[in-house]
Point group: C2
Chain length 138, copies 2
């Protein structure tokens, strides 16, 4: 009802048929976006592109540890989902830059909300992990 709900967690529209049909679930946009950005490199990439336009190698240098292959794959993925636009400038040698599309920009606020939650509750998450791997001497 309300344009943005903050107190009532809707999660997939506010209702859920049970059993949840697996086919629908897999095609659910919420599932898709989480799987899209839940991989190793998408989040940093989006975070950087949220700040400015990057050239390929500039991005490569900006993300420590990423291989050329994975950077390409990550960018192509985000591009295929409409979050990133790839622009080739016909110079010699050719230069390519990447920027967020308006759709990509619109993703940042909700993503930041999740990020804020994670930062706030990071200690609790870490504590839970520690408690889980050390079920000894209580």
């Amino acid at each position: 009802m309300s344009p943005t709900n903050t107190d009532v967690p809707s999660l997939v529209g506010g209702f859920l048929p049970t059993p949840v049909p697996v086919a629908e679930y897999d095609r659910c946009p919420v599932t898709e976006i989480l799987r899209l950005i839940g991989d190793r490199w998408s989040l940093v990439t989006l975070a950087l592109l949220g700040r400015k336009t990057y050239r390929f190698n500039e991005l490569h240098r900006s993300i420590e540890g990423i291989s050329q292959r994975m950077l390409t794959r990550t960018l192509r993925n985000l591009e295929a989902s409409g979050l990133v636009r790839r622009t080739v400038h016909p110079t010699t040698p050719p230069t390519v830059d990447y920027r967020l599309t308006p759709l990509g920009v619109s993703l940042l606020p909700p993503l930041s909300a999740l990020a804020d939650w994670a930062v706030r509750h990071g200690p609790e998450l870490a504590a839970a992990r520690r408690a889980a791997v050390l079920p000894a001497v209580e």
Copy 2:
């Protein structure tokens, strides 16, 4: 500064050192939560548990297509992160129920914000995918 920012996407606190150090990035709580819930079954599981407490087989029946093994793994994962609490009742046969912890409940609003975004922009995402796999006859 503001308790919840909606217009300025902070993403990991509002600044990013470049190059982004891979070790820090991997330990970043934002990365961790995304990878945690970015798998195949965590989102539905959380969505269901957000509604009520479930017994194991009840959950199993409620999620079409999930195997016993994956349900167990998913629940154990969420439990190890402190989002879900597992309670064993010493009856015969033993019954076990799962519910969200307060931490798990606190995750629902930001997750719903992302879900709302996905639902709103689902058509655009789908259109981008279609345009990407059909780069023919423009």
